[in-house]
Subunit: 317 residues, 2 copies
């Protein structure tokens, strides 16, 4: 692994995290969080979800959050869309990127969106067509997530060939990014290499991102394995916000601060100021139950005399 490589970290806590939090976080807090994390150097944020507010009231302010987030200079605004109708809401605002998720596990897809996996894949093509018809090609990117790509809480292990088949479908559908997700935190580094190599072989140059959960402690090990495969985009959430609906008390998304620490310590360029990032925690923490935000670096502090990668490169140059 050479240093001086750019790695993009994307905050997904406002979507993947908040969707597990019943209490509504005030819109102003969400926007303060987004602005502060952007200021810390996280330039891509999944700010909300265009699911029906009746299903998840936390996202009742989706239009307002997305609209105001798009006014922040330098921010790539991503939103989840569960279906074509949600995508149309996102297209109406012209968000920079939409995130549409299909489960590789057929059972998980049925339970999650009550549709066959193939119906969801067909939806994706309709969404890409609708984006193009709206004249948004080149303005609104379509990112497609393969959830349960590394295991499923209903089906257990997921065959690599199934992941490969779905990835090939996404590439053929013309998506702008493929996100491979270990939705329930089952993956190990060996499996990550196998699955990401398979996806990369089908992706044909489309950027591939890794979305890992730390439910069984392997989150950063899996990031490291994906880095070895050449993956340079990772999702994470501040304080690991997200949890796992199947495991009370267990952690969900990998912790953004710990991810940035590891990448930065490795000399990879994230563009994130770790001290400022750690300070952002205070904003969502005001509206969350004590102990909701996890994070090893937040607890232990940075190493003595820690020099951020950006300053190390400056010294070396």
């Amino acid at each position: 692994m050479d240093a001086n490589i750019d790695v993009t970290v994307r905050e997904v806590g406002l979507r993947d995290g908040l969707q597990t939090i019943a209490e509504f976080m005030p819109t102003e807090t969400k926007l303060e969080w987004i602005a502060a994390e952007l200021a810390a150097g996280v330039r891509e944020i999944e700010v909300t979800s265009f699911v029906p507010p009746k299903l998840i009231p936390q996202f009742a302010d989706a239009e307002e959050v997305a609209t105001r987030a798009m006014q922040l200079p330098g921010l790539q605004v991503m939103t989840l869309v569960p279906n074509l109708r949600g995508a149309e809401r996102a297209f109406a605002l012209g968000v920079h990127k939409i995130d549409f998720v299909v489960s590789v596990s057929r059972t998980h897809n049925l339970k999650n969106v009550r549709r066959e996996r193939e119906e969801s894949l067909a939806d994706l093509k309709r969404i890409v067509a609708a984006r193009d018809a709206a004249g948004l090609r080149g303005r609104t990117a379509v990112a497609a997530g393969l959830s349960t790509a590394l295991g499923c809480s209903y089906e257990g292990r997921v065959a690599v060939d199934e992941v490969r088949r779905c990835a090939a479908y996404l590439a053929e559908a013309g998506v702008d990014e493929i996100m491979v997700a270990d939705t329930v935190g089952y993956a190990d580094p060996r499996q990550v290499r196998e699955v990401f190599d398979a996806v990369l072989a089908e992706a044909g140059g489309i950027p591939v991102a890794g979305h890992f959960h730390d439910t069984r402690g392997t989150g950063l090990a899996n990031v490291s394995a994906a880095l070895d495969c050449g993956i340079r985009r990772f999702d994470a959430s501040l304080g690991g916000l997200g949890g796992c609906p199947f495991a009370p008390g267990a952690s969900g998304n990998i912790v953004m601060e710990d991810l940035v620490f590891m990448l930065d310590s490795m000399g990879l360029r994230t563009g994130v100021d770790l001290e400022r990032l750690l300070a952002v925690r205070e904003i969502p923490a005001r509206h969350l139950a004590p102990g909701t935000l996890l994070g090893a670096v937040a607890k232990a502090g940075l190493p003595t005399g820690y020099v951020p990668a950006a300053e190390r490169s400056a010294v070396a140059a």
Copy 2:
């Protein structure tokens, strides 16, 4: 990384863990824990420390714990020795392996054992000589740990050349095993590869083990990087018992259960029965404050339909 590779996991919680716990754990509990973890398949355990009981009263029962542990068939009994006097106590019992630690960081060595690093290294030679003089060569192995090899809470980054120099000294001194320790949890996978490659180059065939702390969330990522270097021996503690004296609330040693899950999931052979290992937690938990034992797998449970590596190999064979 090929599967079907043997990896040794060593429990260090009874030493590295308990040394941070003020309340004395009853000798019977310690022995019950050792026996149960051996029965779960952990065949090497650091059972105690021969430090002066006045310094750490937790180890006032060191002789009894070590003596009775040695009666357990199939167990490799290791004990920490802080100096020649401690080593003589261990030799008197004929333990299978002693663990003598030198800090690569000079400041840490001074603070930890009030000696210059070179004095500690010279001690090691005396200990090897004493072992041989006692006729214990081939019976009691001398394992030497390089602590703060990946960072120091006093000095910060530690130069790889310093680690290399110490490793060369250990190899020349004739130790039976070299343990490279990230004592304060500073390491990242890139640094692990650099440091372990350097140590392996000096070790000349002497087994090298990895001792990682998870203080900043990178513990298992560092294990994975060390595996890539060819390291096949890892320390861990049940429930991550250990903590970090410099960071209240932060985790210490990597969690044995999570380590075994990751290795087993990768298809590596640890010989450990994960379900039985998880059940061992109940024994130390009886005498520890609630919440002392950490662990992601213990919280989240094993993946749906999880098949241990041993059974997978059996099916494949």
